[in-house]
């Protein structure tokens, strides 16, 4: 089933980690196999923040194979050496969990494709996000568990999207969890609720054009699809509008960039979405109770119609 939530503050920052945690926790009945956050924090914009994993969470319910921590250490060492090789300087390093790391990197090249390909050539290593504001954090368990595990409660930023997942078509693991980074574009992330029926056709076509897939989760297709459109010069909104016909199936998805948040709903309107919009805040989720977790007072909300695409700026 899955649940998605997103919010954007216009003209101010807020504790988006805490707010999104509340929204996703309200949706936990829609799935708590894994939960993911894409948070756009307040930064000075100088350095890249790279969130990556060197292994999987092999806790209860996971479909991943257990590995020794020494394997993770070895992979981390190779990542560090590759970064040095590419001229990327590690400014700050945090190892949040044995398999999950956060680096602040000084890296001056704009094209992240070569960079990402090099890092991900190491078996078992995946970049969860790369950007100057975006941080993707995803792991097994419900929203509160993931928030506590990664200490996201205090993160201050302008906007965020998140996902509570009930695994249906792919494994219970971090690589299949949402949000997906819009590889190799800096600060682009996607969450999706629904099912895409032309996944393999689109995947084959995109792979032939050099795009990369890390999982077999159909939702990853949206991130790759939009990234490819933007690579060809389309704006985010144009790419989203094209996706209404390019993607087949039922879907509601959110996409976020460094300074914007967008939503798209398929032409069947088969997946739910409730939207609240005011001058300084847009909040949306699969169910009204997600919005109520941050706005308990009586508010005006509505369901966007079929085939609707909306984009908001911070």
């Amino acid at each position: 089933m899955c649940g998605i939530a997103g919010l954007i503050h216009r003209g101010k920052s807020s504790k988006v980690g805490h707010e999104l945690q509340g929204m996703l926790q309200a949706l936990k009945h829609r799935g708590e196999d894994s939960t993911g956050y894409a948070l756009y924090g307040d930064t000075d914009g100088k350095n890249f923040i790279m969130r990556f994993k060197v292994g999987e969470n092999v806790g209860e319910g996971s479909t991943s194979v257990a590995e020794d921590v020494s394997v993770y250490d070895e992979r981390k060492k190779i990542v560090d050496s590759y970064l040095a090789e590419m001229g990327a300087k590690i400014i700050k390093e945090e190892r949040i969990l044995p398999y999950s790391l956060r680096y602040e990197i000084e890296y001056n090249k704009k094209d992240l494709l070569e960079f990402s390909q090099k890092i991900e050539s190491i078996p078992g290593v995946e970049i969860l996000s790369m950007g100057k504001s975006l941080e993707v954090i995803k792991d097994l368990g419900n929203a509160k568990m993931v928030c506590d595990r990664y200490n996201l409660d205090k993160l201050v930023g302008t906007h965020a999207i998140g996902h509570a997942r009930m695994a249906t078509e792919s494994g219970v693991d971090i690589k299949s969890a949402h949000p997906f980074w819009g590889y190799p574009f800096s600060d682009v992330s996607v969450v999706h609720n629904g099912q895409l029926t032309n996944y393999w056709n689109n995947r084959r076509a995109l792979e032939n054009k050099g795009m990369r897939f890390m999982s077999e989760c159909d939702s990853e297709l949206i991130a790759v699809y939009l990234a490819e459109k933007m690579r060809d010069g389309a704006s985010l909104e144009e790419g989203m509008k094209e996706s209404l016909t390019g993607l087949d199936g039922v879907f509601t998805y959110f996409v976020a960039t460094k300074d914007s948040l967008g939503m798209a709903k398929d032409t069947m309107a088969a997946k739910p979405l409730v939207l609240y919009e005011s001058d300084d805040l847009v909040a949306m989720g699969s169910e009204e109770i997600a919005i109520r977790s941050i706005l308990p007072q009586e508010i005006d909300t509505y369901d966007p119609f079929d085939g609707e695409v909306k984009v908001w700026q911070i």
């Binding site: 032409t267 309107a269 739910p272 079929d306």
Partner: protein, 284 residues
């Protein structure tokens, strides 16, 4: 699967040829027997007094707790109940088989007032998906917007939304009336079998797709017609009925119903072909 068996002693209904078998086991079909009408009991109903009024704050209750308390208040004879702080909770007010004046001061989540029979409800907020699904009788008024599958499979009663509604409004409805003050989404009236839908605003694509019967009235623009949905002439009788319905619903004051479009089933789908079922039966 239910166990079918023949019975030797015929009830009056069976004698009249209305049916010839009974279902036993976990799923039992109980046929109404006119001889036992005076003993007929409608489960879950109470004698309530509309002048007896109380408030119920459900802020810290689950939906199950709130519905149980609602039932408890009706059992005490309260005929007017005001629900405070519903805050988008799902499944509030479901299964009320009673006359009752119910007011929600706020918004509901999914399946609000589902499977109800008889209450008069006013919701001073919005509602999520499947509001009043399977409504049998009564009246539900929503002051703001509604989600998708609004009034799915209703059998009777009046369902009024003063704002806009999502997709598949009135899907599979079998009776009653749905009135929308604003716009409606795609697949409105999808597979409807009976009843009427009135939309004062615009409506999305595939209006009345695969409808068996029933009538849809649209005041604004239509995105597209669904399979087998066709225009029909708006008669004077239709206009009189529309005016009366809108007046009673307190919606669309001064709305010019004479310009509304009337959509009905073209009855060209396979299910209207008398030959095909017989042919299929023969083949089986």
């Amino acid at each position: 699967m239910a166990n079918l068996k023949n019975v030797t002693k015929k009830t009056k209904a069976q004698a009249m040829g209305m049916h010839s078998e009974v279902l036993t086991g976990r799923t039992q079909q109980k046929f109404f027997n006119p001889d036992e009408a005076e003993n007929f009991y409608y489960f879950g109903t109470y004698d309530v007094d509309f002048n007896k009024r109380t408030d119920l704050d459900v802020k810290n209750m689950t939906a199950a707790e709130a519905n149980k308390e609602l039932d408890n208040l009706m059992s005490q004879g309260y005929g007017t109940i005001v629900i405070k702080n519903p805050q988008g909770k799902h499944s509030l007010g479901v299964g009320i088989l009673n006359k009752l004046n119910l007011i929600f001061e706020g918004s509901l989540g999914y399946f609000g007032m589902g499977s109800s029979d008889g209450p008069i409800v006013r919701i001073n907020g919005r509602v999520g998906w499947s509001c009043a699904e399977n409504l049998m009788a009564g009246k539900v008024v929503i002051e703001k917007n509604a989600g998708s599958c609004f009034g799915a499979a209703i059998r009777g009663g009046d369902l009024i939304c003063k704002g806009s509604v999502g997709a598949r409004t009135g899907i599979d409805m079998k009776g009653g009336t749905i009135i929308i003050g604003g716009d409606a989404g795609a697949f409105t009236g999808f597979m409807m079998q009976r009843g009427r839908i009135i939309i004062l605003g615009d409506v999305g694509i595939n209006l009345g797709d695969s409808m068996y019967d029933g009538t849809i009235f649209v005041g604004g623009e239509i995105g597209s017609y669904g399979s087998d949905a066709v225009d029909s002439e708006l008669t004077q009788s239709d206009q009189d009925w529309l005016r009366r319905k809108l007046r009673v619903a307190e919606i669309g004051e001064n709305f010019d119903v004479s310009k509304m479009k009337k959509i009905v089933a073209g009855k060209k789908l396979w299910n209207y072909d008398n030959l095909e079922p017989a042919e299929k039966k023969g083949a089986i």
